[in-house]
Amino acid sequence: MPATVDYDAFTGMLKTAADRIITNRDHLSKLDAATGDGDHGTAMAKVANAIIATIDSHEGNDLKKLLKAIGWAAMSTDAGSTSPLYGSLFVGMSEAVPEGSGELDCQVLASVMESGAAKLRKNTKAEVGDKTMIDTLVPALAALRAAADSGKAIDEALSDAETAAATGAASTKDLKATFGRAKNLGDRSIGHLDPGATSMSLLFTGLKEGLAAN
C-alpha cells in the first residue's frame, strides 16, 4: 500500500463509493419514507451517477478541477437537500486540494475531507445529535484526522473512518430529528435510522473498499 493516493486511485475510490450508494438506492428511499418524503435513495443515486459521469468525462488528471466539477454536477442533480449538501462537500474538498497536486498523502486527504465538511456545514446548523448526515460525517472525519495525526497509513485511516461512520450512522436510530423533513415528526422520528446518515456511512465504506480494490 503506497503512502499517497493519486488521481486514478482517488477516482477509483469515488466510483466504488458511488456504486455502493446506487446498490442501496431502494433501501435509502425506504428509510426516508419512514421519516421524510421517501426520495433519499433517488437523490443519492443521482449524486452517485453525477460523480461517475463527471469522472468518466473529465479530461486530464487535475484532482482539484475534478472535485469542483463533481460539486457542480452534484448541485445540479435537483435532488432536494442532498444536491446542495453533497455539492458543497465536493466544492469544499476541491478548495483544499493543493494547486497542481498529483497525489494526496494521509494528512492532506484528511484536510481535503475537512474542507469539504466545512463547506457542507455552511448550509446547515445541524450538529452531532440532530439525527442527520452530520452524525456520520463528524465522527468519521475525527477518526480520519486522528489516524493521520498518529501516522497511520491511508488504508488504516480510512478503515478507522469507516468504523466511526458506521457507529455514527447507527446512533441516529435513537435520536429525535431536529433538522430536515424528519423534524416535523418530532418524537415519532425516534426508532428510525436517518437516511442521510446511512448514505454518508455507505460513502465511507465505499472509499475504503475502493482503495483496497485498486
Binding site: D37, D39, A74, S76, D78, G80, P84, L185
Partner: protein, 333 residues
C-alpha cells in the same frame, strides 16, 4: 399494485410535464434550458424581475404563476426536489438587469440551500438580486422560529403583489417592501385527509386511518401536529381559522385575503363549503374578506386536504391583488 396515474417513465415526469405545460400555453410561457419556465413575452428590462425556485409535483405551482404581472421565471427541480444552484444562477443571469431581481424562496431546506448558494454565486457575478424567504406555515405554532415554519401556498399571493408592483415600475427596494409586507402579515395551516402517491416511488407519502385527519401536514407528507378524528367542514374551518386569522395579525376591523387551496383530491365543492364557513368565522370576528381565491393552486399530487391561507391587507396590497395579471393559473382582467 399498479400506480393509478397516467405517467410514462417515472424518471421523466418533470421534463414531460414541463414540455406539456409550455406547449399548451405557448402564448404565455416558454421552456428555457430544460428546467426554467419563463414568460413568452418578457417584461421590459427597466422593470424588476421576479424569480422563484421549487420542486415539481405541486402543479400548477410554481410555474403556473409565470406571466405578466406575476413571475418572470420559475426554476424547477424534480418531483418534490429543489433545482440545483447552477440552474438558478442561469435563470438569474438570463434576467440580469440594473433594476434588479426579487428572488422568492419557500422555506424548505433543499430550496433554501440552493437559494443561498445561488445568491452567493450570483453576487460573485455582479447580479443585482435580493432574496425573500416565505415561511408562513403556523403548524409548529405562530411564534415558532422561522427555520421551523415552512413556506406553503402563501408564496402565490406574494408573487402576485410583488409582480404587480414590479409591473408598475417600482424599484427593487419598493418591490421588496411590498413582498415583505404581505410576508409579515400572512399565515397558512394545512390539513390532510387522504394520502398521495409519490409518482416516482409509487409509495404513499403518509398514512392516515379511515376516520382520521391531520392538521398541520406539510406539502410532502411531512407530519403535522394534530391528528384527530374527522370533523365536519364547518368544524374544521372554524378550528383552523381561529388559529390562522390571529397569526396573520388580523382581527376586528381588518380586511383580509383568504385562499382555500385544494391539495388535490379534495373537491372544489368541498373547498367552497370550507370557504363559506371560513368567511362566516372571519366575519364573526369583525374582519371582512376583501379578496378570495378558492381552488387548486399548490397541490400535493392527489392528497385529500387543503391549505387555509389568510393575509391581512391594506389598500396597497388589495390594489396589487386586483391588478391585471396573465399567468396561466391566475388571470385578472
Amino acid at each position: 399494485m399498479a400506480m393509478k396515474k397516467f405517467i410514462n417513465n417515472p424518471d421523466n415526469l418533470t421534463p414531460e410535464l414541463l414540455e406539456g405545460y409550455c406547449a399548451a400555453f405557448p402564448q404565455k410561457v416558454k421552456l428555457v434550458s430544460d428546467k426554467i419556465v419563463m414568460r413568452a413575452n418578457p417584461k421590459d428590462e427597466s422593470k424588476v424581475a421576479i424569480v422563484t425556485l421549487g420542486g415539481a409535483g405541486h402543479e400548477p405551482a410554481l410555474s403556473g404563476f409565470v406571466g405578466e404581472g406575476m413571475l418572470d421565471a420559475s426554476v424547477v427541480g424534480d418531483i418534490f426536489a429543489a433545482p440545483g444552484a447552477p440552474k438558478v444562477v442561469e435563470a438569474l443571469r438570463l434576467l440580469k438587469r440594473d433594476a434588479g431581481i426579487l428572488f422568492v424562496v419557500l422555506n424548505h431546506e433543499g430550496d433554501v440551500m440552493s437559494g443561498n448558494m445561488a445568491m452567493e454565486m450570483a453576487k460573485e457575478e455582479g447580479i443585482n438580486v435580493r432574496m425573500i424567504l416565505t415561511h408562513e406555515d403556523i403548524a409548529p405554532g405562530a411564534d415558532a422560529p422561522i427555520e421551523n415554519r415552512r413556506g406553503l401556498a402563501g408564496c402565490i399571493p406574494l408573487y402576485k403583489v410583488a409582480g404587480a408592483a414590479a409591473e408598475a415600475g417600482k424599484s427593487l427596494d419598493e418591490v421588496y417592501a411590498v413582498a415583505e409586507k404581505i410576508n409579515d402579515n400572512m399565515a397558512t395551516l394545512a390539513v390532510a385527509l387522504k394520502t398521495a402517491t409519490h409518482p416516482q416511488s409509487g409509495d404513499a407519502i403518509f398514512d392516515l386511518a379511515d376516520n382520521e385527519m391531520e392538521i398541520g401536514m406539510g406539502q410532502h407528507g411531512e407530519a403535522g401536529t394534530g391528528r384527530s378524528d374527522m370533523l365536519t367542514a364547518d368544524e374544521t374551518a372554524v378550528k383552523m381559522a381561529a388559529q390562522v386569522l390571529p397569526a396573520a395579525n388580523a382581527g376586528s376591523g381588518d380586511k383580509v385575503m383568504v385562499m382555500i387551496n385544494g391539495a388535490g383530491a379534495t373537491t372544489l365543492m368541498e373547498q367552497f363549503i370550507i370557504f363559506r364557513a371560513t368567511k362566516n368565522y372571519i366575519e364573526s370576528q369583525g374582519a371582512t374578506v376583501a379578496h378570495a381565491l378558492v381552488g387548486e393552486y399548490l397541490t400535493v399530487q392527489e392528497m385529500g386536504g387543503f391549505q387555509m391561507f389568510i393575509a391581512k391587507l391594506d389598500d396597497e396590497l388589495l390594489d396589487l391583488l386586483n391588478a391585471p395579471a396573465d399567468a396561466v393559473s391566475w388571470t385578472v382582467r
